[in-house]
């Protein structure tokens, strides 16, 4: 393990972080076409993560975090709005974000009434819906991109959608498309364990949010209802870019008393400096609106949205070093 750490660190220092190489997805060995030189040189160093005894989950998100932890590393978890800026762009944006250093990619399934989202993401979802986005179209994109990317893919989805399609059906379709987990931003805690169990049965993780206004007692219960990772909301309010890095140290420390799961922080994280401040405590930094805005701007000015997404995520990944 330590030799692997060294290898990765050396790699990060010695190069200007070429994209493919900084993606520390641990099952890279299964993907010969993108095997990066340092790991290829030390196959036995990567192997233990993937072949660790029964404790290790088959789930990609669990494996990604286990691998990062073993290396003492943190994760970048960009949020992309599916089918935005156009239905055709989903695949290329996911690929670009993956190649640029994302460990897990949150894929927002567009919803007509996203009340936790600020103007940037809400507008992106609205545009995607107008362009014909459906959960099925998102599943199609994920299915076609799944084998080409390393990152864990998590569906951020409103329970309104899950309930309408049917929990069982929705989870089955998401699983068969290649999703590795879910974030349910508006699922009541008393219904979460049921959803979580069904997701687990299909081999997927299930994450709920803990807010700044959540009581300690409730935070503990929420953490226990999660699998894969816990999502800690950095501030009261909706998604959207912020000028200052959130102050989350105490809350993350407290949360660690109740859960061994990785803790991902999101809402308002907008720059590489913010990422750096967040991962000082948390296992992962989630960046949404800031990325969606770049995609928007690129699309509006006729530039390649996926290239813009990749460039920005690469910049954010600087905060992990």
């Amino acid at each position: 393990m330590s030799s692997n750490d060294e290898a990765s660190d050396m790699m990060n220092e010695s190069t200007d972080a070429p994209v493919e190489v900084t993606t520390d997805a641990i099952d890279r060995e299964h993907e010969p076409s993108v095997v990066a030189p340092p790991e290829a040189a030390e196959p036995e160093a990567a192997a233990p993560c993937a072949t660790e005894p029964p404790v290790v989950s088959e789930n990609r998100i669990d494996r990604v975090f286990a691998g990062l932890r073993a290396e003492g590393k943190r994760a970048l978890m960009p949020f992309v709005c599916a089918d935005h800026p156009s239905p055709a762009s989903t695949v290329s944006v996911i690929e670009a974000v993956d190649a640029a250093g994302a460990s897990v990619i949150e894929i927002g399934i567009p919803f007509s009434d996203p009340i936790a989202d600020g103007p940037v993401i809400a507008a992106a979802m609205h545009e995607a819906l107008v362009a014909g986005s459906t959960p099925e179209s998102v599943f199609e994109s994920v299915r076609s991109v799944r084998d080409r990317v390393q990152a864990g893919l998590v569906a951020m989805v409103s329970v309104s959608i899950v309930q309408r399609i049917g929990e069982e059906t929705f989870i089955r379709r998401a699983a068969s498309a290649g999703f590795d987990g879910f974030i349910f931003p508006d699922c009541p805690l008393d219904e979460a364990s049921d959803l979580s169990r069904r997701a687990a049965d299909a081999g997927l993780t299930s994450t709920l949010l803990i807010s700044t206004t959540t009581s300690a007692e409730r935070a503990e219960r929420i953490a226990k209802a999660c699998t894969g990772f816990v999502y800690l909301v950095t501030r009261a309010g909706i998604t959207g870019e912020q000028a200052d890095a959130p102050d989350i140290g105490a809350r993350v420390t407290k949360l660690r008393e109740w859960t061994d799961l990785p803790i991902a922080c999101g809402f308002g994280i907008s720059t590489a400096d913010h990422v750096r401040a967040v991962v000082e405590y948390a296992d992962a930094a989630i960046v949404g609106s800031a990325l969606v805005r770049r995609v928007n701007e690129a699309a509006a000015s006729g530039r390649d949205a996926s290239a813009a997404a990749g460039a920005f995520v690469r910049e954010l990944a600087g905060g992990l070093e």
């Binding site: 919803f111 007509s112 009434d113 996203p114 009340i115 936790a116 989202d117 600020g118 103007p119 809400a122 507008a123 609205h126 819906l129 459906t134 959960p135 099925e136 409103s158 329970v159 309104s160 959608i161 899950v162 309930q163 309408r164 399609i165 931003p185 508006d186 699922c187 009541p188 008393d190 219904e191 709920l208 949010l209 803990i210 807010s211 700044t212 206004t213 959540t214 009581s215 409730r218 929420i222 909301v233 009261a236 309010g237 909706i238």
Partner: protein, 458 residues
């Protein structure tokens, strides 16, 4: 157990299922059967729990209710009258078969301050906000009636007030925008989504996510996450309590049928709930819009299916993948793709019948009531009138139909004119008056010596 029920207006846990009556909902978890609940982002859970706590504590606070009653009396103008609509009844009888033509009674919420039932809830919740130590109020509004009522209550209580309104609605209801501003409120136009009530509600919830510590959200109907449906029902139940006592006095009995229009369902819940355990036929009237095609109506109970919108499970207009559909109604107050969870429960229980009335039928009823009674009803209310008129023609003369006249129609005059194609047709009115003179003569001959059906009673 009775204690729990009294404490929180909620039934105890599942173990009491067999003893629970239809009036004993919601459960402690905010469920009306499978409907209701609280499907909200975690940030709002804190605010909802605080609201549940405050609501529980004020339920036992006699002083709170005494203060509210006094304001309802002196400032809102309650009790609103129960009015025997003889002109309308005569009109119906003149066109229906022998011994048909039930008598129509109107619960005059149009005479409440600001012209609709909305003030009952706005005032009650604003007082609740003061009790919680909140200094700022936010609300959503469609037609502007709930916005005006909220702005009015805030002016009275000295609370800062921001009203979210879809930019499309703000354009259609310019007068109410100005009214709210004159009352000191800030009107925030919403440009997202379809720019109507649904999107204004989203925006108000987004505001609340970031302002829960200082701000209370006064939702405008029996919708949204628990405990809103229960709280709004409580504040609107004054309508039904008054109407029950007034009916006993004026009719000597309970009404046979109660009819109310249903947007979110607050005026209907307000008049139904206090009498829900009685043997009274109840009918909720939704907006049938232009047709039953998707997007052309606002009738989730009649044409929708269960789903989650704005934090609760209820009948909703949604596509097959859970996206909220567009709604349409000529009346902005009914132009909403969702409905309160308790109505979904009452529907499934078979306790209340729900039906839909089209824009055109509502418009006809709007004119009919104006001309037979000298009461211009809101377009929302006109839906209930249309159904009541149809029903009265089929029911026997002895029957009493109570209609919740939820609001007055001054706000709708322009829209009604537009829907009539820019011209108000005069002929109908003349015929109604001729009939009335004939009826009067006939009634007079037959009932010589007997007193006429009464006018205003309360």
């Amino acid at each position: 157990m009775t204690e729990t029920t009294q404490n929180a207006g909620e039934a105890p846990g599942e173990q009491a299922v067999e003893e629970r009556r239809i009036s004993d909902y919601p459960t402690r978890e905010g469920r009306f059967g499978v409907y209701g609940g609280a499907y909200v982002p975690e940030t709002l859970v804190f605010a909802l729990e605080e609201l549940i706590e405050t609501y529980r504590s004020i339920r036992e606070n006699e002083q709170f209710w005494a203060e509210l009653r006094e304001l309802l009396r002196t400032w809102v103008g309650r009790p609103t009258p129960l009015y025997g609509a003889n002109g309308l009844t005569r009109h119906i009888r003149s066109r229906s078969g022998k011994d048909k033509g039930a008598k129509i009674w109107l619960k005059r919420e149009d005479l409440a301050h600001t012209g609709a039932h909305k003030i009952n809830n706005a005032l009650g919740q604003a007082m609740l906000a003061v009790k919680m130590g909140k200094t700022r109020i936010i609300a959503e509004t469609g037609a502007g009636q709930h916005g005006v009522a909220t702005a009015t209550a805030c002016a009275h209580l000295g609370l800062a007030c921001d009203i979210y309104m879809g930019s499309e609605d703000a354009r259609r209801q310019k007068l109410n925008v100005v009214r709210m501003q004159m009352l000191g409120a800030r009107v925030i136009e919403v440009d997202s989504g379809s720019r109507t009530l649904k999107d204004a509600t989203n925006e108000a919830m987004r505001d609340w996510m970031g302002s829960v510590e200082t701000t209370h959200y006064i939702i405008g109907s029996v919708v949204g996450p628990h405990p809103f449906p229960a709280i709004v029902r409580e504040f609107q139940s004054v309508i039904g309590r008054e109407a029950m006592a007034q009916s006993l006095r004026a009719m000597g009995q309970m009404p046979d049928v109660i009819v109310a229009c249903v947007g979110g369902g607050s005026n209907a819940a307000g008049i139904f709930y206090p009498m829900i355990e009685e043997e009274i036929r109840m009918i909720g009237v939704e907006a049938g819009g232009e047709s039953s095609d998707a997007g052309r109506h606002a009738a989730p109970l009649s044409l929708g299916s269960p789903g989650i919108l704005h934090g609760s499970m209820s009948y909703v207009l949604q596509d097959e993948s859970g996206q909220t559909s567009e709604a349409h109604s000529c009346s902005a107050g009914l132009d909403y793709p969702g409905v309160g969870p308790e109505h979904s429960f009452w529907k499934d229980q078979g306790r209340v019948e729900y039906c839909a009335v089209t824009d055109q039928q509502a418009l006809d009823a709007f004119l009919l009531l104006s001309r037979t009674e000298g009461i211009v009803p809101a377009l929302e209310t006109s839906h209930a009138i249309a159904k009541a008129v149809e029903l009265a023609g089929e029911e026997s003369k002895d029957a009493n139909i109570l209609v919740n006249l939820s609001g007055r129609g001054d706000k709708d005059v322009e829209e009604a004119l537009r829907l009539m194609g820019g011209e108000v047709k005069p002929s109908e009115m003349r015929r109604v008056q001729r009939n009335r003179r004939k009826d009067k003569k006939r009634d007079g001959d037959r009932n010589a010596g007997k007193s006429q059906p009464d006018g205003k009673e309360s």
